[in-house]
Symmetry: C2
Subunit: 325 residues, 2 copies
């Protein structure tokens, strides 16, 4: 993991040199604020690792692309938090909460444009390819956010539609990050596509795991309230699987539970878990998670570079998927 710290440091140094003007304050202060909340910086790391996989010496050239991805990600957080009326982000007030909706809309817009400004600093002969990939991915992320909001209004969501939503909303950006690194490093198109697929499938597997851990995770290590998704009737892989399999008799119980809160039904989480157990939903969800994880690893294996060079990405994937090898 030593190399990851080197990348993180390089990214941080680069970020500190990006120019955000002092004025107008209400436009740029929120940008400095959201970027200071930092988070895991997993996406810029993927850009740098994607470059490193094909050419060690291309890492520095990949820094603007890594900033573009991080800026895009933070732009989407600012706007998603308005739409989701979220009060907190990484334990701190969200931008629209700290300032107001208008400030959050406009500073988000400016941060999206700053992402493209980073793209314009990439090696000139690579800008066209990077721009096309980045645009297609950014639009998909918007589509994913829209489907996510649409699904909240719908009673029924199929498993296929759900997985496609998480692919668009969160996974394609991981694939895009890796592929942008590969593009900067001059990788051939076949290798680019394999690395992209590795990222997308790993991203889906990671999201499915998140759904599973919300119900079956160890509260200490998971760091969130267990059962939070059940209490808020969130569509998850467990929920959509149950919906597909539930018998007419149990549908009545499910419909009842969905109408309850922790106040009207203190055992809502336990009762929903009973339904999950009856239909073996946990096993089915783990099967899906494993399926996407396996596809991801297969794609990485298929890339034609020395196995040693892939070690860092395998380790990162293992760490994300809590795997021990």
């Amino acid at each position: 993991m030593f190399q990851e710290l080197v990348h993180a440091k390089a990214f941080q140094n680069y970020l500190e040199k990006v120019d955000f003007p002092q004025k107008p304050q209400h436009l740029y202060d929120p940008i400095r604020y959201i970027l200071s909340l930092s988070g895991k910086r997993i996406r810029p790391l993927l850009v740098l690792m994607g470059a490193e996989l094909f050419d060690d010496s291309a890492i520095k050239q990949a820094l603007p692309a890594s900033a573009a991805i991080e800026f895009f990600h933070n732009f989407s957080l600012i706007h998603d938090d308005i739409m989701d009326v979220a009060p907190l982000r990484r334990g701190k007030p969200t931008v629209h909460q700290k300032w107001n909706d208008n400030v959050a809309i406009l500073s988000g817009d400016a941060l999206l444009i700053k992402a493209y400004q980073e793209l314009s600093k990439c090696p000139t002969d690579k800008i066209s390819a990077l721009l096309r990939l980045f645009n297609a991915t950014s639009l998909e992320v918007c589509e994913g956010q829209q489907y996510d909001m649409d699904f909240e209004e719908r009673a029924q969501v199929s498993e296929i539609a759900y997985i496609d939503m998480i692919r668009l909303k969160t996974s394609v950006l991981l694939g895009c990050a890796l592929q942008m690194g590969a593009i900067v490093a001059g990788a051939d198109e076949r290798s680019q596509a394999l690395l992209y697929d590795f990222g997308v499938n790993l991203g889906i597997a990671f999201q499915l795991q998140d759904d599973i851990l919300d119900v079956y995770g160890n509260p200490q290590s998971f760091g969130k309230q267990v059962g939070g998704d059940i209490l808020s009737n969130k569509k998850t892989i467990l929920f959509v699987k149950l919906q597909e399999l539930v018998s007419p008799a149990d549908q009545e119980e499910l419909t009842y539970l969905l109408r309850q809160t922790i106040d009207t039904e203190p055992n809502k989480v336990e009762k929903m878990m009973d339904l999950y157990a009856k239909y073996d939903i946990r096993t089915l969800a783990i099967y899906q998670k494993e399926k996407f994880t396996t596809i991801a690893y297969e794609k990485l294996i298929e890339i034609q570079v020395e196995t040693d060079k892939k070690q860092a990405l395998f380790s990162l994937a293992d760490a994300l998927m809590h795997r021990v090898r």
Copy 2:
């Protein structure tokens, strides 16, 4: 003006071929809607005229850039209308009014990304320069919108600050449109800069004229309620000029008027116009408008191409500034 109709038709044909997916509906329907409200399409026309000035044969190649500018403009309308809580746009319900704020935020975001998707379709060797100009301009437009909102909260705004705000919010995009056309047509940097300055100065002059016509325009030909800016206490060139010149004695009257509505003071417009007359504000504003118009024309004159070729831009400027020559 015949050539302008040819450009308008070429742009419309191009626009109809741009792909906006059917799904998710709430993401792309609002985009189709705002683009269908059309408006004057002045910005894409400027791109095509900017290209034509240097190379007739580059007009077709400039179509994606013209779409990028029009998409950006419409993105900014969608988001500005949320921030301004505007119910109507071009006489029709605004996007946030017809759908809701979330739909307007996200479809606006998608339209901004679609603008960059058009940029990626520009001639490959020009993309880098176009991207840098477009990014810098887009950020400036955001800064202008932020200053505009900031100024609403402030009692005092200087003339310099006001003119800088309208330069950022509306004028730089006109300069950018013209320069993008020039870039596609392969114009040298000096000519690009002159054409940009022509657009920016013309844009400022046009906005100042709009401020003047709101008070002194012929209600029939102006098409808006005369005095609307006065009734809403809008910062205009007339207002900031008066603020700078008003005597302590008249300041009392001004402060009184700013606290009145049409209900508490039916003669608010007339009384404010009396103050304007006392300080000869109209003349001073017209002087400023003429100053920027003159700079604009000088910049256009300075460009090293045959005078014949500039005729279309002179005519367009004359039409915008209601000039007769």
